[in-house]
């Protein structure tokens, strides 16, 4: 991969990380009046997948969709404005953190219903096929979503119709406090793919290069009409399931497990790789950080200085004209 793309992925991961940390810091002021599910630690998945997508490709996310929105190129100002539930938000203050969208870059909205976006993304892929265009859809979902019937129904249909959709399972091993072990008899979601007659891969979701490589192939398959792929990315969330709490220790996730994954920080690993290969230097890193910090600053200013919706808008958009 040429260094331009490598740096772009690095920047995306950094952007996700810093945005999430900023949200984490601001949440305590109770101005962000919406549930938040942070993606810190899982940055490589969204970054590695979306680097291979075109602007007009579709993605669908879940309750935890900040990373995907950012990686796909969603408007950051509008994202922050949405978190602050402003009229200028990407969902006009009606969606909040769990329901980000940006039509211009193919983000048609994320669902907070576990497994809910899997059929929707399969549907946009069906549309691409029926319309004869080569737009690809990527559906991001968690290991918990693989429990739902929609996973089975959708993958079966996509394989049957050879739809241009890539199913990306962000397996962070937990659904809230419930470990995958408590929900699946086997621990290899990717294997399920094979029975539907589609390729399935289980990869290191904290290795952005591996993610990018598998995603590239899967997306290429879609464009050439060969049908869907399931990619199970093993990763880990650093924060608790929801909000800004931590959930490590007694009754929660084991400290050793947590420490192990922290040591496998996707950004640390990737930046080391980039440095070893002379692609990333101190100056470059600083300039990227600076640019991001400014972007975030501006976005926050934009958000906090934006008007909230007015009560008389309540009944708007129940129906489209």
């Amino acid at each position: 991969m040429e260094s331009g793309k490598l740096i772009e992925m690095y920047r995306t991961m950094k952007l996700i990380r810093l945005i999430e940390q900023r949200i984490n810091d601001e949440y305590k002021y109770d101005e962000i009046k919406t549930p938040i599910h942070l993606s810190i630690g899982q940055e490589a998945v969204a970054a590695g997948v979306c680097i291979n997508l075109r602007k007009d490709d579709y993605i669908f996310g879940t309750h935890r969709s900040h990373a995907q929105y950012i990686a796909k190129g969603g408007d950051i100002k509008k994202m922050f404005a949405e978190l602050y539930l402003r009229k200028t938000g990407c969902a006009r203050g009606r969606g909040g953190s769990m329901h980000l969208m940006d039509r211009d870059v193919g983000i048609l909205g994320s669902s907070a219903i576990v497994g809910g976006s899997i059929p929707l993304g399969t549907g946009t892929a069906l549309a691409s096929k029926l319309m004869g265009n080569d737009r690809v859809t990527v559906v991001f979902f968690g290991d918990g979503a693989a429990d739902e019937g929609t996973f089975h129904e959708s993958l079966n249909f996509a394989a049957l119709k050879k739809l241009p959709v890539v199913y990306v399972c962000e397996n962070n091993f937990y659904a809230i406090n419930s470990h995958q072990r408590a929900r699946h008899a086997n621990d290899n979601i990717s294997k399920w793919a094979q029975n539907y007659g589609m390729p399935g891969f289980r990869i290191d979701g904290n290795d952005v290069l591996e993610v990018a490589e598998y995603a590239e192939r899967a997306i290429a398959r879609c464009r050439s009409g060969e049908g869907p792929t399931l990619i199970e990315c093993l990763t880990y969330r650093w924060k608790g399931h929801i909000g800004t709490v931590d959930d490590v220790g007694e009754g929660y996730r084991p400290k050793e497990e947590y420490d192990y994954w922290i040591s496998r920080c996707p950004i640390k690993r990737f930046s080391e790789f980039l440095r070893d290969n002379g692609v990333l230097t101190d100056e470059l890193e600083n300039s990227i950080d600076e640019e991001i910090k400014q972007l975030i600053e501006e976005a926050f200013d934009f958000a906090q200085n934006s008007p909230k919706p007015s009560p008389d808008e309540l009944m708007d958009f129940v129906y489209a004209d």
Partner: protein, 347 residues
């Protein structure tokens, strides 16, 4: 052969008069078929999917031959997976297509409410109108010949509580064609409620493409003494009852709302203003029915126009029994409407 056909074939043909100009008579089933045919021809974004839509039976004849005419990409069979199918339709709609999803029985709609209610119906609002979900979900309620508890439900009452969803329930061939075209043109999810016993109903249907505004009802029969709202198939029973009532010297006005959500409040109020009495006949179980919603509306908005209590003529609050004897006891008829009307007018 679907068993309800045995039942439906036994029904005598009911003709709906004066519904439209012209003298072109066709069945409800054929009117629907024409709506699909013309919509598929008119708009390349329209496609039809569902269990058996492309087979020889063609969903009781309503989609027969359309695959041959428009191709397997626009009229296709699906796996049996109602919830995800609804999501596929919603996703395709978000991407710019106009899917028509068919459930051969309304009972199967219950498998799909996550995608219909949590997703399709909320998307437009949740994203401030930036994404629309123009899709049609067709459901057909069966009745008779031991259809039983799982193959005869009329649960339109449940769906009334869903914001963002439109619901239509045409009872005449003219409305079936016009409202199907409207539902396909509409930019929102529309639940299209059919009743198997209406498929055979005949009436005048213009050949050209036409639409009927969703939310507008019609007076099917003018009257002064009592207003009878007949929902879906119960419109037929209501019209039969009105005929008998006339012989009994009672002039009944029969209102066909056609659209259930939103429904034509003005038309209803106007009629009650004239008659002061209201009966609502619905095909579903009484509690939580569409009849309940209309009765509640009347109690709120037409209270001072009412001279007598509102009456709901619906199925009792039991699952549908299979026994022919119990089926007979379960389903309300024109006689039930007649008797209630007489009570309200004479007492």
């Amino acid at each position: 052969m679907p068993w309800t056909t045995i039942q439906v074939e036994k029904l005598d043909n009911f003709f709906i008069k004066g519904d439209s100009a012209g003298d072109r008579v066709m069945t409800y089933r054929d009117a629907l078929h024409e709506a699909f045919d013309q919509s598929l021809a008119r708009d390349p974004r329209v496609f039809i999917m569902g269990e058996g839509v492309d087979d020889v039976a063609g969903v009781f004849g309503t989609t027969k031959g359309l695959k041959e005419k428009y191709g397997a990409e626009r009229v296709f069979d699906t796996p049996i997976a109602e919830n995800s199918l609804t999501g596929f339709a919603a996703g395709a709609a978000m991407a710019g297509l106009r899917p028509v999803l068919v459930h051969a029985r309304m009972d199967f709609l219950l498998l799909s409410l996550d995608q219909l209610v949590n997703h399709a119906s909320k998307w437009c609002y949740m994203f401030g109108g930036q994404v629309t979900v123009p899709m049609v979900v067709r459901t057909i309620s069966a009745r008779g010949w031991g259809s039983g508890a799982q193959h005869s439900q009329c649960i339109q009452g449940m769906l009334m509580n869903v914001p963002g969803l439109k619901i239509v329930a045409p009872a005449t061939p003219y409305d079936a064609k016009g409202l199907m075209i409207s539902a396909i043109i509409d930019n929102n999810p529309v639940l299209f409620v059919e009743h198997r016993w209406l498929h055979k109903t005949t009436g005048h249907v213009p050949e050209e493409l036409y639409s009927i505004p969703i939310g507008k009802g019609v007076i099917r029969r003018e009257g002064d003494d009592i207003t009878i709202v007949g929902i879906s198939y119960m419109l037929v029973e209501a019209l039969k009852a009105a005929e008998k009532l006339q012989e009994a010297g009672i002039s009944a006005e029969v209102v066909d709302l056609r659209s259930l959500k939103p429904f034509d409040e003005e038309l209803l109020i106007k009629s009650v203003e004239k008659t002061g009495r209201l009966i609502i006949a619905d095909t579903g179980s009484k509690t939580g029915s569409v009849a309940s919603e209309i009765a509640a509306f009347a109690a709120e908005k037409a209270f001072h126009l009412l001279k007598k209590p509102v009456k709901r003529v619906c199925c009792p609050d039991t699952p549908t029994p299979t026994s022919d004897v119990l089926e007979k006891a379960f389903y309300p008829t024109d006689n039930d409407i007649f008797n209630e009307a007489v009570k309200l007018v004479k007492e």
